[in-house]
């Protein structure tokens, strides 16, 4: 995979005498490689790297789309930490990530373990549980969720049947977060399917040997399932956490694009959108975006660093 730099340099010089066949092949490969890669490379430069650099620059400016950007140094960043709405959006997003993601993954793992046996109907259940993941982030489901958790909606009525009178969750600032978390937990199917694929890779004789040694289900879970599944758990945890930070459409629809009631659904990306595209404070929104990148980057790094202590890659598992 790694190229020796001397070879590639030699192959690209045109004045050289007839080259050995191998080097000529390499030169052709280099040209072909970049030609085939052209669409991605163009997109990467024009739609990712370029915009990232320019949003970094904009984050140090005051820019409203109509007048040229004005350099203000770190002002956007310092203002952020005095902006109560911003701090609220951080709190809302963090509680969503910290409670929603582990709950979703726990549900996914539990159901995957339930389904991980050769039984009739396994395929049906797997598909049925997966379906919400496909539609859960859509506007349609956000509308349905809002209706279901509204005043005298089915959830309210179901709970009052058991004597619990919470009223509508949508209008109650202390109930909107549980409602949003339920929406993400409801989409446990995608990580579940990935867990299920991981569970199938665990050799059955490990469990048989453990049974013969008299291990119960709890010990089997902690001594076999958890370590053997740890790479998959890590993958799901990382991806779900990163995605959770970026929730937008559901929050936008459920709160009519305002993040209410009382800012209880003012998710980070929603506030970023409002600042950037409703107030046209694009420098400020860029600072928010970069802060998100840094935070997600740090979290990813922490995940990878700590993973060494609990994620086990067995050499022969492939």
């Amino acid at each position: 995979m790694t190229q020796s730099p001397t070879l590639s340099r030699r192959s690209s010089s045109s004045s050289s005498p007839p080259l050995p066949r191998k080097s000529r092949q390499r030169g052709a490969d280099a040209r072909a490689g970049y030609t085939f890669l052209l669409p991605w490379l163009l997109g990467f430069i024009a739609l990712t790297v370029g915009p990232m650099i320019s949003s970094l620059y904009l984050s140090f400016t005051n820019y409203n789309l109509f007048e040229p950007p004005k350099w203000i140094g770190l002002d956007n960043y310092t203002t952020l930490f005095q902006d109560e709405r911003f701090l609220q959006s951080v709190g809302v997003t963090l509680s969503y990530v910290v409670f929603g993601t582990p709950l979703k993954l726990a549900a996914a793992l539990a159901v995957a373990m339930l389904l991980n046996s050769k039984r009739k109907g396994q395929g049906f259940y797997r598909s049925a549980f997966y379906a919400p993941s496909l539609i859960g982030a859509s506007v349609s489901i956000a509308i349905v969720w809002k209706a279901m958790f509204g005043d005298s909606g089915p959830v309210d009525q179901g709970l009052s049947f058991f004597g619990i009178n919470l009223g509508g969750w949508v209008g109650n600032p202390s109930m909107t977060m549980p409602m949003m978390i339920l929406l993400t937990v409801w989409q446990f199917g995608a990580p579940m399917v990935i867990f299920l694929a991981g569970l199938k890779q665990i050799p059955a004789d490990l469990y048989e040997a453990a049974s013969m040694d008299g291990a119960g289900p709890v010990r089997k879970f902690f001594n076999i399932t958890w370590p053997m599944l740890s790479p998959v758990i890590f993958f799901n945890l990382l991806m779900e956490t990163i995605h959770a930070f970026q929730i937008f459409a559901s929050a936008y629809i459920i709160s009519n694009g305002e993040g209410g009631p009382a800012g209880s659904t003012l998710f980070y990306t929603l506030y970023l959108y409002l600042r950037g595209f409703s107030d046209f404070r694009m420098g400020y929104a860029s600072a928010m975006a970069w802060l998100l990148v840094v935070v997600v980057g740090i979290i990813t790094l922490i995940f990878f660093k700590t993973s060494k202590s609990w994620v086990h890659y067995s050499g022969d598992s492939k």
Partner: protein, 309 residues
């Protein structure tokens, strides 16, 4: 790191799950086994009911008169079953018919599928099958974009498209698809192609075939499963996308369904619940049909490629 959820080899046609050998202790009696199976199905069915309830409620409500949704009638069944909500929903909103919104969504989704298939497969071929200097560094950057919160690019992208006068066209929504900006699909195809035997290319090279020939006549036909998963997911993601159209489209005539739904919510202020829910059902219908038809591909795609829903 991302390879850990992709343990399976590509298979032509449908991919069947590899079943672990059945764990079957001889000590367990037939009766105990049957009891376990009954308990399993009771738990699993109860869970299915809970999981599918929101979808069932949505469909049931779309056939009910407004007064009964969230009213006294809590059962899914209504004796006042009617298509009225759908008739209202089909009329559309803001002077634009729902059929127009459907067409818009379809144009965007098909554009996304075509663009993604073309650009991702070509780029993936470079990453997976051609050796060139800088490949591993670029591949690493591609993986990094998978983890990058895309909000960091939306503001400059908007500014660029605004200056080019392309706001309120579909170009900003589609150009990224033609430039393989959804790194996930590139990654999926790279993983798939890497598992195809290297002898294929070597034999073709000896026969004098270049990369274009190898790509079009050897790789593409073998990549069918990966191309199908990519098509399905890029279609569904585009169909459900909300933020992109919200940023770039201003005229209702150009709205895809998710934006039309938002407009509907805004303008009717929840006064016509039934029609709103009927329209939500209509908007999800293609996704549900896709799911029913391709569920094997979709679920297998998720389990072998770690695709998000």
């Amino acid at each position: 790191m991302t390879t850990m959820a992709t343990p399976t080899q590509p298979k032509a046609g449908g991919t069947a799950p590899v079943q672990a050998p059945e764990y079957n202790p001889k000590s367990e009696s037939v009766g105990a086994k049957r009891a376990k199976s009954v308990i399993f199905h009771i738990v699993a069915l109860a869970l299915t009911a809970v999981v599918l309830y929101p979808a069932l409620w949505m469909v049931a409500s779309s056939f009910k008169p407004n007064a009964e949704i969230g009213g006294t009638n809590t059962s899914l069944w209504s004796s006042n079953f009617s298509f009225d909500n759908f008739t209202t929903a089909m009329e559309g909103i803001g002077g634009v018919s729902t059929l127009q919104f459907f067409t818009n969504s379809l144009v965007l989704a098909i554009g996304a599928v075509v663009g993604t298939i073309l650009s991702a497969s070509v780029s993936a071929y470079a990453f997976a099958r051609i050796k060139f200097p800088g490949r591993s560094a670029l591949f690493g950057m591609m993986i990094a974009t998978l983890l990058l919160p895309f909000h960091v690019v939306i503001i400059p992208q908007y500014i660029i498209f605004q200056q080019l006068g392309l706001v309120d066209t579909y170009i900003p929504l589609l150009i990224g698809k033609f430039l393989a900006a959804d790194a996930f699909f590139v990654f999926l195809m790279v993983q798939f192609m890497r598992n195809l035997p290297a002898e294929l290319d070597e034999a073709a090279r000896i026969d004098g075939a270049g990369h274009v020939r190898i790509f079009t006549s050897i790789m593409l036909p073998l990549m069918k499963p990966a191309l199908i998963s990519t098509s399905i997911f890029s279609f569904i993601w585009s169909w459900n996308d909300f933020l992109g159209p919200l940023l770039y489209l201003n005229t209702p005539e150009k709205y895809p369904l998710p934006l039309a739904l938002r407009l509907f919510v805004d303008q009717t202020q929840s006064s016509d619940y039934g029609a709103m829910i009927a329209m939500s059902v209509l908007a999800l219908l293609p996704v549900l049909i896709f799911f029913l038809v391709f569920q094997r591909y979709i679920v297998e795609g998720v389990s072998t490629q770690g695709l998000k829903g």
